[in-house]
Symmetry: C2
Amino acid sequence: MRIDIANALGGEPALDREALDELDAEVAAVHDRITTGMETDEFGYAALNLPERTDTDEIRAAVAPFEDSETVLTVGIGGSALGAATIANALESETAAYFLDNVDPEQTTRLLDSLDLSRTAVNVVSKSGTTAETLANFLVVREAMQREGVDWTERTVVTTGSEGNLRNLAEKHDLPALPVPEGVPGRFAALSTVGLACAAIQGHDIDAVLAGAAAERDRLSGSLYDAPAYAYGAVSYALAERGAATNAFMPYAESLETFAEWFAQLWAESLGKDGQGQTPARALGATDQHSQLQLYRAGPRDKLVTLVRPTERADRDIPETELSGLSYLGGSSLGTLLDAELDATEASLAAADCPNVRVEIDRVDERGLGELLFGMEAACICYGELAGLSTFTQPAVEWGKKAARGLLGGGEFAESEQVRDRAQLLVE
Amino acid sequence: MRIDIANALGGEPALDREALDELDAEVAAVHDRITTGMETDEFGYAALNLPERTDTDEIRAAVAPFEDSETVLTVGIGGSALGAATIANALESETAAYFLDNVDPEQTTRLLDSLDLSRTAVNVVSKSGTTAETLANFLVVREAMQREGVDWTERTVVTTGSEGNLRNLAEKHDLPALPVPEGVPGRFAALSTVGLACAAIQGHDIDAVLAGAAAERDRLSGSLYDAPAYAYGAVSYALAERGAATNAFMPYAESLETFAEWFAQLWAESLGKDGQGQTPARALGATDQHSQLQLYRAGPRDKLVTLVRPTERADRDIPETELSGLSYLGGSSLGTLLDAELDATEASLAAADCPNVRVEIDRVDERGLGELLFGMEAACICYGELAGLSTFTQPAVEWGKKAARGLLGGGEFAESEQVRDRAQLLVE
């Protein structure tokens, strides 16, 4: 992963080289903190040890029974789905990957009706084994298999904690079962069993994902000017402190669209606390130049725009044309056009004083994805340390979970009463 | 469309009923302005006349040759794609819809390789007939058809202005050609030929879309308390003025995911100017409760969260279960769970003083989509009027278009020189 931070300086919010040099001393301390956390496998920091800790042989062995699958259906939500989806939607495979990461009845029915469940591997992921959405979907999928005469116990692999519903179920039915790593929050688990079981079923080179991640870990150092991940984390933090409340995250590759979703979870859930946190806004280049760029250039000066791209990709020629005024396109290529659009957008943001950062990998392949996943995790931890946040927790989501559970008759919770007591001011 | 604004009041940023009552006088003036604009078919305001102006017979006649199509491929970008995609991705059809709305060479090749082009209708949309991305993609598609021995002139419909490349091409090859409506910016064109040709090829009831839009138009009135569209626009504006820089737009239906993208363009490009404009952040319920909710509840007090849902949908039962602690789910349904999650999230935001608004339609069908599309357009215009913005222009995107064109050899532009002169501060 390479980061170009030149355009992060001199815009508005204002950040200059001197301020960044000062911040670099703090980054050195952050690096020490992170290194200690890694050495002691401390909660959260343990995620950065996954490149060497994750046992890819164990993953391959667990999914070996599903080699014949034409599709893999991952049932999970949030961190239990987004890492796997990032890889699945970035890389081509003959084994199609689908995700039940919501509880939309129409979508679920449509998806299950479209699959040959006898050729589908079901990959159920929940650390606790009690996540309402995931377990509800799993119950629905299991019933659909039974209805079609498919033995669900032959087609299901679970990734879960050492106890709980899913662990018990795996033991009872002798399902292949993978552990979730200790000390790793879900959104930091892409480089573990949680993110890689699906990729293994799809036949991707999961060792190469980890090799890319390890290469990115080796780039960590005591200075933001030497460590791409820290450069990204420190610049984002410094700009957020100065008013860049939004981080518009804009890959120039359709294959990285889900990576932007993964990033949005990582950033929002890790850094959104204590009244702090930069709001991630997912975008896609070049498409969103025709949607969001007007706002980025001419709206409030409260944004950092992150442009992400691979420097190499399979290209496609644009045919020569007789159409007037389009001869400049004919004989060029879609890739050349897309690259020119990123270059132009970057410069147009700079010309409008909108801070922006360029993130590059060589290719969208297993290694490149490993670099991006690890790099952004380390960047996020760096930001969290600089801001003094509790990066690895997400206490604010509990309220709603209790309320929903109470509404469904799963217990008595004061939160549910507040839902029932809601006021209305209806305009219709 | 129904709007519940009770939770927009009393949170942080602070907005109270008294301030809203004061704003209502301005809304009355805005309604007069909009009514005048509609009566005189003024640029932009003309969009609100589309429910009665759009000629659905003309659209059906133009696409009649494609009745045999198994897929429709829309080639367009920004406002030329998002309206059509909103409808296509919301409603089921036996005719699959795909979109080339980017210039990603890998994605384009993958898509074209997957289609039977002899059974594909190509729907090319560009008002000017010179949009670089759209014309490049069209040239690529045309060549792919020729390679496969498909007569592209038999399988292409264009929607374009009264002159330009596409109009000339249509005349030369006698292609079915639809006009773009006069005085309607692309992002406000969903209810015209631009958004409805694709829907017509898919066999959707485009008259019902317009009927839903007309019903929403009939709800416009001189008070925000009587007009759902103005209630949404006025509340968004008032909160933005008070610090809600972000509008997190979160449908609780997978089928409305693209509608959130359409909204994001409408909001960003219309209102993002003069240093103003609320940044749309697309989200999806219930999935993003596990991704963004932590930030919304515990991060900076700079957000409005918009929750959107249909009140009726095809449901799916959750089977009874022996799993411990999950009996409350067994015998319920996915729809009940999803509704409980919206209710719980709404209350959890209110409990955290985060302003939120609920938007409801009866069903995700043609009529409901018409209500949403028209309603949000009118809401956006209302916001723009209240803020004194030039809602219908997008001047800030021109810089990058010129720069990209220059980089590709399409002329000499000072902007391209700035791209070439870019500084670097590379961390690798």
